[in-house]
């Protein structure tokens, strides 16, 4: 008996439309809120760092002396208290107040930036505006503003930063506050700490220029990135529209091809229903043959539309749901009942129900096509066995569909999932095969991370084993 195992990996680089659609020129409130929460968490980390710094100041006199840093400083505690209070206010405004014009995510973000800048200015003032790297932390705020705000808004942040730092330097230079000395760095270590006008000017020009350059570079990069995002969004919209148009075209063609067949078959049903008087059995037999060929053609036309839709669905993320395999199998058996009754084919089933996460329509396509094939390619009065079971060791679930029909030759096995593939033996047995059914199965299996094993021998039958991954067991076997 020949065997073959089909596996379709989903690791290829499929485009994530849903994620791409979220990106736009302006950030949505949803994204702003996510950023606000991230900033709040980041600020808690800063508060924790400040508290540790405060403990260090109070307990480590020797290292402080070695670092030439003054002892008994309390500014880290003060700033951490201010930042904690502000954080609580941001959370309160975000989660416990009604959104309004003055309580929008954007306003929240602005409040955070301004309060942070004031706190940073206080820190810079206390630790030394020209003798420590503290002023460089302004760059962080400029960069964040460039990323999260528009260019104009980030320019406003830059102006606030430059203004704050300039006022700080001017005030520390003795023009407004007499006798300033940095409190963090030991005065002995920096003998001429008293700020001269030249030194103030040097720091003011150099650091403000640095702020301006950083703003220009980051905002420029931000503009480029946002332009790319906008183009991406437009491209995705065009792809989506093209897919919609393609689907509509497919529907139109399907309709135009199928409508005449439906009119013919409706008339046949009218005659068979006795609405046109009595007809002879010979005529009924001829009508049945016409109807059978028409039904085959109709199925082919609808399968072509299904195939196109399934191909399109590989580029989109349809809703994944948990599906009961037992319910799906029962639905498929129900649909096939007229055929199985007509040919006296018995469907034996021993089902252990389990849940699989996937696209319900596509899982139905897989089961319906494989069970339908098992029935189609069985001999009359035969039996088709359907069993399902869960393997608790690797959380896989299998559905086995075994027939005792015409089977598949070994040379044909690798091709059975190809579009419009017909094996000569299959055509002899079933003239109305569309050659599409297993192509639909292949795409649906790929979309839902399902593997399929096939074992077959000519004139002995075929067993399809559908392997589902990460299943959830529901209950015991039902027969």
């Amino acid at each position: 008996m020949a065997e073959i195992n089909f596996s379709w990996s989903n690791d290829d680089h499929q485009f994530d439309i849903a994620a791409a659609r979220e990106k736009g020129h302006k950030f949505s409130n949803e994204i702003l809120i996510k950023n606000i929460r991230w900033f709040i968490i980041f600020r808690w980390a800063v508060v924790a760092g400040l508290v540790l710094l405060q403990i260090f100041f109070l307990t480590a006199s020797e290292p402080l002396a070695w670092l030439e840093v003054k002892e008994n400083q309390t500014w880290p505690l003060a700033v951490s208290i201010i930042l904690s209070g502000a954080n609580f206010l941001y959370i309160y405004a975000l989660d416990f107040c009604q959104p309004s014009r003055y309580n929008s995510p954007s306003a929240n973000l602005w409040a955070q930036i301004i309060v942070d800048l004031i706190c940073l200015s206080i820190v810079v003032h206390y630790v030394g505006s020209t003798v420590t790297p503290a002023p460089f932390f302004y760059i962080l705020h400029i960069a964040l503003a460039c990323i999260f705000f528009s260019t104009i808004e980030s320019l406003v942040v830059l102006i606030i930063v430059i203004t704050m730092y300039t006022i700080l330097l001017i005030s520390e230079s003795g023009m407004f506050i007499y006798g300033y000395q940095a409190v963090m760095v030991d005065g002995d270590a920096v003998p001429n700490e008293s700020l001269t006008k030249g030194r103030v000017l040097l720091w003011m020009v150099s650091l403000n220029s640095l702020f301006l350059i950083v703003w220009y570079v980051v905002s420029r990069l931000s503009i480029v990135v946002r332009a790319h995002e906008r183009h991406l969004k437009e491209a995705m919209e065009q792809v989506e529209q093209a897919q919609f148009n393609r689907d509509q075209y497919g529907m139109l063609v399907t309709h135009q091809l199928k409508a005449p067949l439906d009119a013919i078959r409706s008339k046949i049903n009218l005659i068979n229903g006795g609405y046109c008087g009595q007809v002879s059995s010979d005529i009924k037999d001829v009508l049945a043959r016409i109807d059978k060929r028409g039904a085959g053609m109709s199925r082919l036309i609808l399968d072509m539309l299904k195939l196109e839709r399934l191909k399109a669905s590989t580029h989109t993320r349809e809703t994944m749901e948990q599906v009961s395999v037992a319910a799906m199998i029962a639905k498929c058996i129900d649909k096939l009942e007229p055929v199985t009754n007509a040919r006296n084919i018995k469907l034996d089933h021993a089902i252990q129900d389990f849940g699989v996460t996937g696209m319900p329509d596509q899982i139905e396509i897989i089961l319906e096509n494989i069970i339908s094939n098992a029935v189609t390619y069985s001999f009359d009065n035969a039996t088709v066995e359907i069993t399902s079971a869960v393997n608790p060791l690797d959380t896989t679930g299998i559905v086995m569909i075994a027939d005792h029909g015409i089977g598949i030759e070994e040379k044909d096995l690798p091709n059975i999932f190809n579009e419009y593939f017909y094996s000569s033996r299959a055509v002899v047995h079933n003239k109305s095969s569309s050659g599409i059914g297993l192509s639909l199965v292949k795409i649906a299996a790929k979309n839902n991370n399902i593997n399929i094993r096939i074992a077959s021998a000519p004139n002995a039958g075929t067993t399809f084993t559908i392997v589902f991954h990460d299943v959830q067991p529901f209950g015991e076997k039902a027969e």
Partner: protein, 130 residues
């Protein structure tokens, strides 16, 4: 009094088939070639049917869907079923609509299925049940 059914389809063979089946089973049938004809007929209160059988693609790709929405707005009590060659392939176009209101019969017309569906739908409107 016979229950009134409106049938809209641009295919004369389908219109004829449905009319024969329904008339033979005691219904009064108004057949329309286009959705516009049907919608215009609704201006006359006496022409308002108990149930409408709509085709999806009549004048345009989505004429049947538009008619369906207009009926839902103007006559929320009126039952409506779709009869289309596309069967449930049109379901994606009803993503936001109640499944309770959407009933699809796939062509070809099968007398017993058609009658069963129509009886079921009409029974949901007790005031108009004969």
């Amino acid at each position: 009094m016979a229950q009134r059914i409106a049938h809209i389809d641009d295919d004369p063979d389908i219109r004829d088939t449905v009319r024969r089946i329904l008339v033979a089973n005691g219904y009064e049938v108004d057949s329309y070639h286009t959705s516009v004809d049907f919608i215009n007929s609704l201006n006359n209160p006496e022409s308002v049917p108990d149930l409408a059988i709509l085709d999806v693609m009549v004048e345009s790709m989505d004429a049947g869907l538009k008619t369906y929405l207009e009926l839902h707005e103007r006559f929320p009590e009126m039952q409506a079923v779709f009869m289309t060659s596309l069967g449930d392939m049109i379901l994606p176009y009803f993503a936001d609509k109640s499944q309770e209101w959407v009933c699809i019969i796939e062509k070809p017309v099968e007398p017993t299925v058609l009658l069963s569906m129509i009886r079921d739908r009409l029974s949901r409107n007790p005031q108009k049940t004969a």
